[in-house]
Symmetry: C2
Subunit: 314 residues, 2 copies
């Protein structure tokens, strides 16, 4: 991996023509029947069959979406769920996505005391240094949970700075119960998410690339447009990773609040609404649910068009 993460991501967004990312959250039970009905793959209770089915789905998915998206985001939980075989498959898929020159975000939301975050950063962000792994690359960026403070974040930043990688700190998440802690207002009138933003801002300023953005970005949910607008102001040098579009209910207009007037500064991510597009009548009726790759391709094209339309004031 060469150069600065933010510069590379901005260039990739320009090359693909859309500031979007597809989240890969594969659940065996929702995979296309064409895959799970295959005799070698039709047993959800058999780890090897389940992991192979998910791997086959993900490799085909990546191939379909690669021409349209600058980035993909792997949700580690759905691989950890299959123990070490799932974890091996997860790292193999990072290599697959890397072959398509996609920016790869590892959605792991780790964070702990410094010494432990250091081990997590080596596991989940660094390019492997171990001799058995020297052909592997780590992902380009990782998500981090900073409830335990900047100490949880710093080991990730050190590796990111050394290896041209990025870090997205969860500042304001997209889920319904996010507000309980994150929007609680502190005595100086600032909600907790803003307090956290102010703590990561000086860290971000240490690592600015040529395009003016830091390798330290923030997760800011599209389901909370007011908070998103505030974070856009508070973190001018941070790229905002914006989940919540699609299944979680955010629309393109809400997500547009994450961008600057020059249409840079954010990456909108959608997962289930894209990768399971063949379950939606709008695509299944047009292409046939069995043509699941065509459904996904159209969904990702629509996703790009909707975000771009919102950014163009449409």
């Amino acid at each position: 991996v060469a150069g600065h993460f933010a510069d590379r991501l901005l260039k990739a967004i320009e090359a693909k023509g859309a500031p979007i990312c597809v989240g890969i959250d594969p659940l065996y039970s929702r995979l296309p029947k064409a895959i799970t009905e295959h005799k070698r793959l039709n047993d959800e209770q058999d780890i090897e069959a389940a992991v192979d089915a998910i791997f086959e789905f993900c490799t085909k998915l990546i191939k379909v979406i690669a021409p349209y998206v600058p980035a993909v985001k792997f949700q580690s939980a759905y691989f950890e769920r299959y123990y070490w075989d799932g974890v091996e498959s997860y790292y193999s898929l990072i290599q697959e996505a890397n072959e398509y020159d996609l920016e790869i975000i590892a959605d792991v939301k780790r964070g702990d005391i410094g010494s432990t975050s250091q081990a997590y950063a080596q596991a989940h962000l660094a390019d492997p240094q171990l001799m058995d792994m020297e052909d592997y690359v780590g992902p380009d960026a990782v998500t981090v949970n900073a409830y335990m403070g900047t100490e949880a974040v710093e080991p990730f930043l050190e590796i990111a700075a050394e290896q041209g990688k990025g870090v997205f700190v969860v500042v304001r998440s997209s889920n319904p119960s996010a507000a309980a802690i994150q929007d609680a207002v502190t005595t100086d009138g600032k909600p907790v998410y803003q307090l956290l933003a102010e703590q990561i801002r000086p860290l971000a300023e240490r690592y600015i690339g040529q395009r003016g953005y830091s390798l330290l970005g923030a997760v800011a949910g599209g389901t909370a447009p007011e908070q998103l607008r505030r974070l856009r102001e508070l973190l001018p040098q941070c790229i905002l990773l914006v989940p919540g579009y699609g299944t979680q209910g955010a629309d393109a207009a809400s997500c547009a609040a994450a961008f600057k007037p020059d249409r840079t500064g954010a990456l909108v991510t959608a997962s289930r609404s894209i990768i399971y597009a063949y379950e939606q009548p709008r695509y299944a009726e047009r292409f046939g649910a069995e043509n699941w790759q065509a459904c996904i391709e159209q969904a990702v094209k629509d996703f790009a068009a909707e975000i771009n339309a919102a950014l163009n004031g449409g």
Copy 2:
């Protein structure tokens, strides 16, 4: 796993005579030379050698400490650091610890939107349902990060309630940068950690065992005795898991604030100060650093004695 986690943990504490837990955070570079100088294990850059060395250390460590402690806590990061081989070793060590009837806490600090937390709960808490894994057990309890709200916690609680397991939510951590978010005071005069405690309290009340404690507990660092005392009051039905003793600087008197007058309600955990006892002059000079198991045995006995003395007003 049978019965209610809190009942089982209290019984184990009584049987061993000390409310203590040893945290297993193995770093190859700090393993005893007797292990890392072995010709098959003396290459840190070779995954198989490093994982085998850590596995050998951990199995011997567990055997030494098992007579003295009711519980062990595995820090997942140090296993994830060796990719899928490390993850396999982690699950194997859970089986090893289970053979000694120890209560096993998986320190993973996961937490995400509901659907993703569900996958994490299956990976990190549930007994495996998959046919290839039916001889494996999951750990007895798990740590969870709730910055994303109760939605991040609930999937873990459902599995815990079904399978007789426990969940410890990180409320006030032990590390130096913990205060930045966790101690921020909100407009109703409550710090964030207290707000979180009040949100998990009604969840805890749903799952009370015969001894009056919930399967939902809280992580509350021994390095912050004032917050610890407050959490003891706010969460009368929660067992407090208290890190920070030893390397992080908390002493037995500080940790004693986590207990009720009847000396129940908390489990003090120490990691590096016990598992690397052979690095400390007080043990190395007495037993010889090469007698690393004797050093660890004495350190865990001292740990038990110090906590018990503090609880007895010593």
